[in-house]
Amino acid sequence: MADALFETLLRLGDNTLILGHRVSEWCGHAPVLEEDIALANTALDLLGQTSLWLEYAGEIEGAGRSADDLAFLRDAWDFHNVLLVELPNGDFGQTVMRQYLFDQFNLMNLRALTGSTDNRIAEIAEKAVKEAAYHVDRSRGTVVGLGDGTAESHERMQAALNILWPYALELFITDDTDADMAKAGVIPDPKTLEADYRATIEATLAEATLTLPDAHFGHRGSGKDGRMHTEHLGHILTQMQWLQRAYPGQAW
């Protein structure tokens, strides 16, 4: 049970850690100042959520690892984030589409987690859910604005959706760990969130004049259990972990 809980917390924390890092890559590079600051705020929110999840993960593991140890001293195969969040930023449209696909899931998942039988998880979710609600508000609005914008922005958003949609489906795979945790009331069964998610995404896409691609494949959950990541994760870690690898134990 402790193993499954540790695994569950890593999945939660790694999703927000890797996406937070990805989004932070825009800092100083976004197309306009306002978006630059907004993206940095989102990245910081996600890193804040990460530290809560990973700190708790370290306590459950009981091996004396802190949130920082887990973030900066694990190698790629020990990361249990979904593949969606480690994909490259692409153009601004692809970043926004990825953000919306994740934000909508994060909001629904966190709402369910506020009722977790694990008090600590419920408390973290309670705090994070307000941030997630704003993230959805923002990324959803931008998806609609760009989807139903100019011919070029529409085309870019549709291209982004075509690339990202199959990856989004990994969020709703229930494996044995999820099933055990769901049975104990610790997390919602991911499968049960999918119908609501799809309906919400489809409503947004209709407003954005975008259409869901026929996904001939869905990713099978190799990211969340660490079996296989994309080639991009190693590159993220090289940059993210560089300082702790080069100067072990360095602190502010």
Partner: protein
Amino acid sequence: MSKEWPLWEIFIRGQHGLSHRHVGSLHAPDAETAVKNARDVYTRRSEGVSIWVVEARHITATAPGDKGPIFEPSESKVYRHPTFYDIPDDVGHM
């Protein structure tokens, strides 16, 4: 059509009971996005409880060149300040 987003003036109310104050301006494609941008640009450190946005072109302002006729006449009218009568002690601090 210009590709530039319009400019919005941002007003934020710091705490209940105080009025909104102008804090700066930013660009946004529409009013809703201007509110979101204002939230992200101007309230990162808990500066506000309420945000107003007004598209800058809707603000009509006095021209700096009109300073003389508009503001100077009031400078010589000290009797407009309530300083020509005594306030009874009983009133206390006003």
